[in-house]
């Protein structure tokens, strides 16, 4: 039994069939990649697992630790141990990095300030330079991405989904993100990376290949990567849904 089990999941948005009979198991302590070209439905599936607004009305089952979580709210799912990192993190006027990173600390026994500082260091940020700054537009996209990851590390949940962790960041930051993901894995955290980047896929043990809202292949990452490289990237354009409306919904 996986830590997270998705069984025959279907999702319709605006009358369009976006997720099509998706089933997968996420294994405890492993890093997984949800792979596919733009518009394949990867982010939609992660949003449905997190229970985000607009993605909750699914058919099928989502089980976490054997418990059906379909009817739980986002925060209830988070308190069960699931969290999500956005491709483009939100900005917050007036909320300090310290407050944001510390917001989700589940382990109340630990000293909060220490957990926050440790998390920032793990993503390569000096706490003294960031703790009192606001999580707003004065931070670069890369800095906000690292701070979001720090907030997830501070929360320390059993299961993390990261949507396009490499988008909008430079090479040095990408290396730092990869290091942080390795640390998560070493700590026994289960990770799902949503990506179409080969560099990110290479960090995974297992991979699921999505296309047109379906899982078309499940295997070890080292088997999926060459397939994706040879087949999916070249056909990205012809493989996309033809009608504009469906493309807009899933993108």
């Amino acid at each position: 039994m996986g830590l997270l089990e998705v069984k025959h999941l279907n999702l319709h948005i605006n009358g369009k069939h976006i997720l099509r009979d998706v089933s997968l198991d996420i294994w405890k302590g492993h890093v997984h990649a949800l792979v596919g070209t733009n518009g394949a439905g990867k982010s939609t599936l992660a949003s449905a697992i997190m229970g985000l607004e607009g993605y909750r009305d699914v058919q099928g089952e989502i089980l976490f630790n054997g418990e059906r979580i379909n009817d739980l709210s986002i925060d209830q799912r988070a308190r069960r141990g699931i969290t999500f990192g956005w491709q483009e993190p939100a900005r917050y006027e007036g909320i300090s990095v310290s407050d944001f990173v510390g917001a989700g600390i589940l382990d109340k026994a630990k000293e909060k300030e220490t957990v926050i500082s440790d998390a920032l260091q793990k993503v390569g940020l000096k706490p003294g330079d960031y703790l009192s700054r606001s999580v707003d537009e004065t931070l670069s996209g890369g800095e906000r991405k690292k701070i979001e990851l720090a907030s997830i590390i501070a929360m320390n949940p059993p299961f993390i989904m990261l949507d396009e962790p490499d988008s909008g960041i430079d090479v040095a930051t990408l290396e730092r993100m990869a290091d942080a993901i390795k640390i998560l894995k070493q700590n026994g955290t289960t990770v799902l990376l949503i990506t179409h980047s080969l560099a990110v896929m290479r960090q995974a043990d297992h991979a699921f290949l999505m296309c047109h809202g379906e899982i078309i292949e499940k295997n070890t990452a080292d088997k999926i990567i060459p397939y994706f490289e040879q087949n999916c990237i070249p056909c990205e354009h012809k493989n996309r849904p033809d009608d504009k409306e469906t493309r807009e919904v899933i993108e």
């Binding site: 969290t83 993190p89 917050y92 007036g94 989700g104």
Partner: protein
């Protein structure tokens, strides 16, 4: 302890100010309880004269040319009784090259039916600087009406900043009406941050005239309304000279049955002037909310954190 000392102690305690502050010779202060001046101390270059009037005090404040006050002047306007009117009439002149920061504590912790009326005129001469931070502490009964009106003239190269914040208690009624006139290369910044609940009413009317070349102005409001509270924000900024630059920024969050209207008016009367505006009204941003909920915060706690940030 004299009656004045007792009243001074009551209002400063309610405002959460350390009493040692008022023993220091290098920090100026003015303490007014209802219509009585219960404490006053000036520093070199600062002249404060007061006159008790019906239900209030008239204040003349003058900062002499070139004086730069090191520590913020502590002002405290308060009323401990549950009912009454406090009227403050202030005329302030900041002379050429003089700089002053004022921290005004307005405290009405027991108010059931209290009116605090302020009528101010402020003149900043050339290259003067005046920063006025107004911090309110109200009762949780909503029985306070705060009605400040001010006309401000900001001279050449002068800098005027005002920041209004309700720290504790309920708004009741706040009706702000400020109008500012800015000369060449002067700077204006008006900020208001208010959290309204129950049946509170917030009215903000801020007007800035960027009349001088290279003058700068920002009008910023952050208002959160919940329950049945109402807010009306009128922000008007006019640029009438070459290279005058300004920005109007209204961000208001509405929860429950609260109602907000924001009217940002920007006028440009010169082809080389430029003003921008940004207004955002409505519920808490969905992505901000869902991110915090994905960290385990309840919807209410996440909303509170977002609103606290906005009002900070």
């Amino acid at each position: 302890m004299s009656q004045n000392q007792k009243l001074a102690s009551e209002i400063t305690d309610s405002a959460g100010i350390e009493s040692d502050m008022f023993k220091r010779k290098d920090i100026a202060h003015l303490l007014i309880h209802h219509d009585k001046v219960v404490g006053m101390h000036a520093v070199d270059g600062l002249e404060i004269t007061t006159k008790e009037i019906k239900d209030g005090v008239k204040i003349d404040l003058r900062l002499k040319k070139g004086t730069k006050i090191k520590h913020p002047v502590q002002m405290c306007f308060g009323m401990m009784p549950k009912t009454g009117v406090q009227r403050i009439v202030m005329n302030a002149v900041i002379e050429k090259d003089a700089h002053i920061d004022v921290l005004a504590h307005c405290t009405f912790p027991n108010a059931v039916d209290v009116k605090h009326l302020m009528d101010a005129t402020l003149t900043l001469e050339e290259n003067a600087s005046y920063k006025y931070y107004e911090r309110h502490i109200h009762s949780d009964k909503g029985g306070v009406q705060v009605v400040p009106k001010a006309k401000i003239h900001v001279g050449k190269h002068a800098r005027y900043i005002t920041d209004f914040e309700l720290l504790k208690g309920r708004v009741g009624l706040i009706d702000i009406d400020y109008e500012t006139f800015c000369e060449d290369k002067s700077t204006l910044e008006m900020n208001a941050r208010i959290n309204a609940t129950h049946d509170d009413v917030v009215k903000i009317r801020e007007i800035g005239h960027l009349d001088g070349e290279y003058s700068r102005g920002v009008l910023l409001s952050r208002v959160a309304v919940r329950d049945n509270a109402k807010a009306e924000v009128y922000s008007e900024l006019t640029a009438s000279a070459p290279y005058a630059r300004g920005h109007v920024d209204c961000k208001e969050i509405v929860q429950d049955d609260g109602v907000v209207s924001a009217v940002p008016i920007v006028k440009v009367n010169h082809p080389k002037a430029h003003i921008t505006h940004e207004a955002s009204l409505g519920s808490v941003d969905s992505k901000q909310l869902q991110t915090l909920m994905a960290r385990g915060l309840s919807e209410d706690d996440a909303t509170d954190l977002i609103i606290q940030g906005l009002l900070r």
